[in-house]
Symmetry: D3
Subunit: 189 residues, 6 copies
Amino acid sequence: MSAEQVSRFPVVDLADMPEDLRQRVGAIAEKSGFVPNVFRALAHRPAELRAFLDYHDALMERSDGLSKAERELVVVASSGANHCTYCIVAHGAILRVRAKDPELADRVASNPWQARLDQRKRAIVDLALALTHDSAKFSDTDMAAARKAGLSDDEIWDVGNITAFFAMSNRIAHLTELRPNGEFYSMGR
Amino acid sequence: MSAEQVSRFPVVDLADMPEDLRQRVGAIAEKSGFVPNVFRALAHRPAELRAFLDYHDALMERSDGLSKAERELVVVASSGANHCTYCIVAHGAILRVRAKDPELADRVASNPWQARLDQRKRAIVDLALALTHDSAKFSDTDMAAARKAGLSDDEIWDVGNITAFFAMSNRIAHLTELRPNGEFYSMGR
Amino acid sequence: MSAEQVSRFPVVDLADMPEDLRQRVGAIAEKSGFVPNVFRALAHRPAELRAFLDYHDALMERSDGLSKAERELVVVASSGANHCTYCIVAHGAILRVRAKDPELADRVASNPWQARLDQRKRAIVDLALALTHDSAKFSDTDMAAARKAGLSDDEIWDVGNITAFFAMSNRIAHLTELRPNGEFYSMGR
Amino acid sequence: MSAEQVSRFPVVDLADMPEDLRQRVGAIAEKSGFVPNVFRALAHRPAELRAFLDYHDALMERSDGLSKAERELVVVASSGANHCTYCIVAHGAILRVRAKDPELADRVASNPWQARLDQRKRAIVDLALALTHDSAKFSDTDMAAARKAGLSDDEIWDVGNITAFFAMSNRIAHLTELRPNGEFYSMGR
Amino acid sequence: MSAEQVSRFPVVDLADMPEDLRQRVGAIAEKSGFVPNVFRALAHRPAELRAFLDYHDALMERSDGLSKAERELVVVASSGANHCTYCIVAHGAILRVRAKDPELADRVASNPWQARLDQRKRAIVDLALALTHDSAKFSDTDMAAARKAGLSDDEIWDVGNITAFFAMSNRIAHLTELRPNGEFYSMGR
Amino acid sequence: MSAEQVSRFPVVDLADMPEDLRQRVGAIAEKSGFVPNVFRALAHRPAELRAFLDYHDALMERSDGLSKAERELVVVASSGANHCTYCIVAHGAILRVRAKDPELADRVASNPWQARLDQRKRAIVDLALALTHDSAKFSDTDMAAARKAGLSDDEIWDVGNITAFFAMSNRIAHLTELRPNGEFYSMGR
C-alpha cells in the first residue's frame, strides 16, 4: 500500500455508488466540501454502508439527550484510547466545529484519561473509556458514577452505544488502514 | 438488578414492538422457538434495532465467501476473547448447530488462542483475534498470514467486519448486562 | 498433534497405572463413568500424580468452611479468567451438578467479573480473581472486602489456595494442551 | 486546577527566572514568539531546568546522525504511545515545521504502530516503541532489525536515548498536568 | 500486620507440627540452619503441607533431566516475573548456592527476559516465561523453540511443571504476604 | 555480546574521559572503590553524561524535602516495577547503605506493590508506581492520596521527578544492556 492509498480494499468513487448511496453520501459531501474516505471505503459493500449510515445517524443525529458536541466527544475519547487515526482526525475536526473549541479534540484524543473537563463531560468520557477497553468489567459502579454526575439512563445508553459503534468503526479503520482526507487536519482550527 | 433481569435498561416484548420489527423479530422467534433477548433489549430504540438487524444480516447472511459456520466461528472467538457472556452462549449455540459439532464452540470460546483447528479455521480465528484487542497494531503481517492460509481479500473483509460488528455487540451486551435466554445453553449439544 | 490427541506428552491408560493409582483413579472413573483425561496425562509421572491427587483432595474435599459448590465456583472463575479449556469444561460440569444450576458455570466461566451473583458468591469470585492475575498486588484491601462480605479467614485461605492450585493446574493443561473428555460438555445440563 | 492552569505546581514567568535561564529561555521564546510552558513549569527548580535544557540540546541539537525531523519523529511516536498531551501538541508542531508535512505528526501521534512510513522512518519508530513500553524486553532482535534497516549504532543510540529522555519528559508532563500553549495547536498546519 | 509478621494467617512453630511434619521439616531446618517460613505458614493445614512437600520434592529433587541448578533457575525466573518476594529471596539464595554464582539469581529475578544466558539456560527461561503469564497462548511455536535449543520433551515437562508449581507457590505467598527469613538475603553471596 | 560485556555500545575507561568528567567520575569512584559502569557507558557521549550527572545530582543530592534514603527508595521501587537490573542492583546497594537495612531494597525491588512499609514510605512508593506505568492516568486522586499521607507538594515534586529521571535511566540501561559492577551485589548486606 502506498502512502497515498485510501484503504487496503477496493474504494468506490461517489459517481460509481448505487443511486441511493450516491444521493446520501453526496449530501454529506456537499456539506463538507469533499467525500469522507470512510464512505468510499465501505461502498464496495453497499448493504453494509447502508446499515452503517443508518446506525450512525440513529446514534449521532438523535435530538434527545446528549448534545451533538457531546456525542462527538464520546467518539474522540474512545477513538483516542483505541489509537484510531481516521476517527481521531475526522471526528476531531467535527468536534472542533461543534464545540467551537480549537483545543478540546487534541486534548481528549491524546489523553482521554487526564484531559481536564467539567464534571458532566468527565463523566461522559469516563463512561466511554469503561466500555472501550476491558468492557467485560463494566459494573454497577460505573453506572452509579455516571448517574451521580447527573447523566440520565437515556444519556448513559447513548454514551455506551456510541462507544460500541465506534469500537466497530475503529476496527474497520484499522483493518482497512483507512486514510483520513487531508481536509480534516486543519478544519475548525 | 435481580439475577432474572434481562437488561439494565427497558425491555420491549415482541407484542409491543413497532409492526415492522414485530414481523422481523417474530420470524426469528418462530424459527428458534423464543425471542432472543438481544432484540427485546434493543427494541426500546427501534431505529437502532433496525440498523442492527440490517448490519447483522448483511454480514452474517451473505452468501459469498465464508460459510455460515465460519461466520459464527468468528463471533465465538472474538466474543470469547472479550468475555461476552451473551454472545458466547447465544452464538455458541448457533455454532454448534451450524458446524454440527458439540465441542467446537466451548473450545473456541474458552481459549480461542490455543484451540486446535485446521489451517483455514486457525487463520480465520487469528485474524479475528488480531482485531479484537490492540487492533491499532493490525499490520501487513496479519494480512499476509491470512492470505498465505488461502483466505481471499473478500473473506478477510468478512472476518474483519464481523469481528468489528461483534466488538460493538459485545460492548452493548456488557453495558446492558444482557442475559442469555435459558434455551441457548443446551441447544445443539 | 491431531485434534483427537489428549496431551502433547505420553498418556497412560488406567490399566497401565501403578496399582495404587489404578485403584484411586479407578474409583473416580467408576463414579463418573469415564477416566478424566487429566489423570491419564499426569500418570506418566506417578509421584507427581500422587501429590496432585493429595493436594486436590486436601483443598476440594475438605468438610469445613466453603461448600463443595463454592469450591467449584472458585475453580471455574479462575479457570475462566485464565482461559483454560480443560478446567472450564470439566469443572464447569461438576459445578452444574453440585450447584444444581445449568447456567451458573457458563456465566461465570465466560465473564467472572460481571456474572450477577449473591454477595457471598461475588466476594468469593472477587477474591479468586485478585489472585489469578497480578497477584503481586494482593493487598489488605482485598482481605478487608472478603471479610466484610462475611468470609472467615479460614474460608479466605480456602479460596486463595484453591485459586493457587488451579493456577498450577491451568498451566499444566496449557502446557499439555489437555483435551477435555467429550462427556463433560453435556453433563449436568 | 482550573482548565486554564499551566501546571499543578508553581509556575515562573520569564521575567522572574535567574539571569542565565532568562537569557536561554528568552532566546527560545524570541524564536517561537512565546515562552513554551514546559520551561515556566520547570523553572521553580532552576538546577533541574538547567540540566533538562543541557540534556535536551545534547540529544536534539546534535549535528551527526539523525536529521532534526527524525529526532522529532522519535519524540512524537513515543509521546503518542505514552498519551502525553503536552509533548504530542508541542513536538507535533515542531515535527510539522521540520518535516514540512502537515499530516505526519497527527498520523504518528495517533497510531505510531500503524502509521505508513518509509523503511527508515518505520525502523526509527519501531525502535522508539520497543523502548517506550516494556523496555525490559528490549533484545538483540530489536537491535538487529534496526541495523538491517540501515541504522548505524550511533543512530540507534540517538533513537534510544531520545526515547528515554521523553519517557522522563512525558512523566513530568503527566505529574504536572502540563498545559500546551495555545499557539502549538495550529503551528505548521 | 506488623513488618515482622511471617504470614497473614496462623503460623505453626516446628515443635508444634504433627510428628511426621516435624521430622520432615526438621531435616530441612537442620540442613539450612533455620526453619524456612513457608513451612511454618503452611503447617496450620497439615494435609496441604504434606502434599506441597511431596509435589515439591517430586519436581525439584528428581534425578533425571534438568540439573538442580536449572530447576532453581526456573523458579527464580518465574517468581521474578510474578514479583514474588518470598520465592525470589529464598530460591535466589538456593540458586546462588547450587549454581555457585553470586550474580545469576539477582540478574534473572530482576529481569528474566533480558538476562544474558547461554542458549540452554535462555531456552529454559523462555519456556518458563511462556507459561508464567498468558499461558493460554502457549503454542507449538514455544515447544519447537525449546526442542530446537536441545531440550528433550522430558525436560520440557520439568520446566513446565516447575513453573506451574511455583505459579501456585507465588500465589500462596502473595495471599499470606509471606515474609522471607532474614538468613536467605545473604546466603551464597 | 559476551556475558562479561558492560554495554552494547562503546565504553570509556576513567583514564580516557575528558578532564572534567575524569575528575567528577573519579571522585565518585574514589568514594565507592570502583567506577560504576553507568558512567563508563555514557562517557562516549560526554555532553550527555555531563547533563545526566547534573540532573542526577539536582534530584538526588537536594538537601530539602525527602531524605537521601527516601530518594533511593523511589529509585528502587520504580526500577523494580520496570525490571531494570542495573538500577535495582546498584541503587539497591545504595539503599541498603543509606537506610541501614539489609532487607528493604530486595523487598521493594521484588514487589513494590506489596512490600510492607510505614505510611509515609508506602505513599512515596505508591506515587512512584503511579508514574512508572500508565502515567497518562495520573490524577488528582493520586495527588490527594500523597497529600493525605503528609507529603508536601515539594516532596511530591521530588518523588515524581526522581521517578521520571529513572524512567529515563532504566531505558538507557535496557538499550545498552548495562551490566552492574560485581561490587554492588554484596554491598551493605
